[in-house]
């Protein structure tokens, strides 16, 4: 079979204890025998470890944060594209998805493909709209409320029991056992991610997650459930294991069917001791632990690239249960000249 020659750009190259999905996505793509691929890394900071990992990226460009505005952000992407033509961009961070979706026409006009959910799909699963979402798609969700000021905190006890969760719009979640802790967490989160801050009912149980890929017509192309075995102080999985939980798979398939989800997604759910499943969050992109899915038999990054190229991809239903991942830290040795080059010229 002839390999498909293409250049793919990815973001999310931070391989720290709060890893981005970029490098796991690259690993999946590189392991595919379908592509003759050149990978461009799009980095926000010049010390994102993925930049320096041997064999991961062929080229790296620094880009500004999406907060600079859509125009300036896309100007930089187009500048890179002019110099180093890109066929497909896989954005891997929540905060940049809106910008890429809004720019789909512009990107398409320059022959840059993306494979992302629609703006409506992105919007309706926002954390502050989760309750409506649960009702619409018949999934249990915890009670939630958006607040914009610490003046809203005293009234929370009318609606919520402690402990409760305080969550940022895009990232961060902290458990609060009293009003004072809610205020502290509100201040921390709003300073970093802005408002609203989401208050969510705390559901006791085990957190289970699913990485999945939808083809936009209601078909689940891939889905693998996982339970975190070791969690860092940032709440990130340091180790996890694939599960054979059929209920989780069925919830995922129904959700992808009913929402006609297009692209990668991660469902974060709580399974209670009574075996009820509560959806606590939907991340509208591939999660950082996606390489576990590759290891378990479903190369989701490969499938996403093929779908983006308009190829037919058959749904993958088989995978190995009990497959584990364990993260580790590792010291990469680099040269200051590389750091210098990236800092001064914005590329490496």
């Amino acid at each position: 079979m002839n390999k498909i020659k293409l250049t793919i750009a990815v973001t999310g190259l931070s391989n720290t204890d709060n890893p981005g999905p970029g490098i796991p996505v690259v690993r999946g793509i590189r392991e595919s025998d379908r592509f003759d691929v050149r990978i461009i890394g799009l980095a926000y900071e010049n010390l994102e470890p993925g930049i320096y990992m041997k064999g991961a990226l062929d080229k790296t460009y620094l880009i500004p944060y999406p907060s600079v505005g859509q125009e300036a952000y896309m100007e930089r992407i187009m500048e890179i594209h002019k110099k180093d033509p890109i066929d497909l961009i896989i954005p891997n961070l929540d905060a940049e998805l809106f910008t890429f979706m809004k720019s789909a026409k512009l990107l398409g006009g320059k022959n840059i493909t993306t494979y992302l959910p629609t703006l409506d799909q992105l919007e309706e699963r926002q954390k502050d709209k989760l309750e409506e979402y649960g009702k619409k798609y018949n999934v249990k969700v915890p009670h939630g409320k958006s607040i914009t000021s610490i003046n809203d905190v005293p009234k929370l006890s009318d609606e919520f029991e402690y402990p409760l969760l305080v969550k940022g719009k895009f990232y961060d979640a902290h458990i609060a056992y009293n009003q004072e802790q809610v205020v502290n967490n509100f201040n921390k989160i709003s300073a970093k991610w802005g408002v609203p801050v989401i208050i969510q009912e705390f559901i006791r149980g085990t957190e289970v997650n699913v990485v999945a890929l939808g083809d936009g017509s209601g078909k689940t192309i891939a889905a693998i459930p996982m339970r975190k075995q070791y969690i860092t102080d940032k709440g990130k999985a340091w180790s996890g294991v694939t599960l054979g939980d059929k209920t989780l798979l069925s919830i995922t398939n129904n959700l992808i069917r009913d929402t006609q989800w297009k692209g990668g997604m991660e469902l974060e759910m709580i399974r209670t001791n009574e075996n009820d499943y509560y959806l606590i969050e939907i991340n509208p992109r591939i999660p950082a632990w996606v390489y576990l899915a590759v290891g378990a038999g479903q190369n989701i990054p490969e499938a996403l690239v093929l779908l983006a190229l308009g190829e037919e991809v058959k749904p993958m239903t088989e995978y190995e249960i009990g497959k584990m991942f364990i993260r580790y830290s590792y010291d990469l040795i680099g040269n200051i000249s590389d750091f210098e080059k990236l800092s001064i010229s914005g590329e490496l």
Binding site: V208, M226, G244, D245
Partner: protein, 84 residues
Amino acid sequence: MKLKENIAVSESGFLFDSNSGESFSVNSSGKEILKLLSEDIEIAAIEKSLLEKYDIDSPTFNRYMDDFAHTLRRFNLIEFEEDE
């Protein structure tokens, strides 16, 4: 009483619950009982088999078996006919 379908027991006495992702380990006698349970063998037959093999009387076996069954049930590893 039978071992749930989603529980895998290895030769080393390692149990993996493929639904919850939990894992456990049991000693050699626990492993032997679980192996028999996974073959759908009744408790009475398990008792007979172990009494023949080991120097243990019926009341002692039943006391330990009750404890073991209680632990297995607490961790959601077995089901009883009345649960179904």
